[in-house]
Symmetry: C3
Subunit: 185 residues, 3 copies
């Protein structure tokens, strides 16, 4: 609670996306209004969007994280953002996807993180991806070396991994690879 998150994934920096602040369940998120904060808003009980009105004396075209968002995050942490931001209605979130059954990230070790949240209803289901079937495991040590499995990772997401191997290479996975979850026969 009462934390301020500085969130900058901003390929449109310097373009016409809005700089915003999202207050969600007493946490603050500062960043560009390009979809980055939408999932936070959808999952919050109560939230309020604001536009950042303040501009620094010198604003680079390509590094708003440093020049614009970080100073605003610092002001919020100081309890001094009142004049710098202005409430607005926020983006239209109808139809915003809750889960995405795709690989969204390959980490340093070749583990494939998906956009699907784990829930108990997924227990023992099989993942079908790139024509292969991947069973659930609980930990890396629960399968033999070189074998693939999926599990609830430490962020609560479905993740595909290989014990002592790279899932991305062994299963030929990449960001964007789609999968489905099916019941075992």
């Amino acid at each position: 609670m009462n934390s301020v998150f500085l969130c900058v994934v901003d390929p449109g920096v310097g373009g016409n996306r809005l700089p915003v602040v999202l207050e969600a369940d007493r946490r603050w998120f500062v960043g560009p209004e390009n979809g980055l904060l939408n999932t936070v808003a959808v999952h919050s009980d109560a939230c309020q969007w604001s536009i950042i009105k303040w501009r620094p004396q010198s604003l680079s075209a390509s590094f708003h994280g440093r020049d614009l968002f970080a100073p605003i995050a610092a002001r919020i942490a100081d309890g001094d953002s009142g004049a710098a931001i202005c409430p607005f209605s926020g983006p239209d979130l109808a139809g915003w996807l809750n889960d995405l059954d795709e690989i969204v990230y390959i980490d340093h070790y070749g583990n494939a993180i998906t956009g699907r949240r784990y829930s108990k209803g997924l227990q023992d289901k099989l993942i079908i991806i790139e024509g292969m079937t991947v069973m659930q495991g609980r930990t890396f040590a629960s399968v033999a070396k070189g074998h693939a499995f999926w599990y609830e990772n430490s962020c609560g997401l479905v993740e595909i991994a290989v014990n002592q191997g790279r899932a991305d290479r062994i299963l030929e996975l990449a960001v964007g690879s789609e999968f489905c979850l099916v019941d075992p026969l």
Copy 2:
């Protein structure tokens, strides 16, 4: 102001380059006298070089950043470096280059950073590099996906980039690639 910078790019560590402190416009820079600090000195209004006289009880041959420079930086931050350093005239900076029209760094995303500072006189000029012509843009979003442009980056340097692509691969750039800036026809 009043910051201390610990600067260690030191391929000659353990050799006979001098360990120095540069005070430039009320900022302190601690590191090897191998050219690393020269540009800071050239661009300062007022500067003073000092030699580091102090030696630790145990000085490794290959990690002066840890054993020598970091303790001196800490002493300066504590206002307690008087006996550890000794003023000297500094290196001869006549002929030290102000700008370098080459790629000096390829970042994680494939953007090619040059050694040329941006100034207003460069506006709308074209970069000729590896037989190709690159026009100026203001932001990544200002050109189509896959297109190259050059711009003033957030450090004030000329940088060559591709919107949603890798400039190093698309333009076949590497550290050391030379370029020139020309007027449009």
Copy 3:
């Protein structure tokens, strides 16, 4: 002294290895009992192993560094770990190797770090590795550009390097490459 080290190299996370604390010469090491802390114990004058009894309310299967070890390390730093840990005899360390005459790590620059501690008895010895002979040097600058040498690195280990080059590529070294130290003829 009195430092707490949070040590997590834990491929068996979620399996049946023990979570432990090693107090060695008034330093604390928190992590899995999988061999990671054995060398610390062997080299200490006095040490005490403890098992971590405490469990968090929510323990993920794959991130005990966050969920289990970090809170225990914090409690130890607070002087408040009494009820959370329980002394035990520790692993059997008979036959635990003191030194390993192999490459154990290739760093970012291609330097090859070995598992052999440097001692004065090694002075001027030659390393024979992959059919090649490598002489001792004191620093990178002590040999010509592109030449290989071995030296005592800043951690006190024998390391093989190439001045302004990558030892791993030039000597074709990899983690696991074995070597021997011989007297010069």
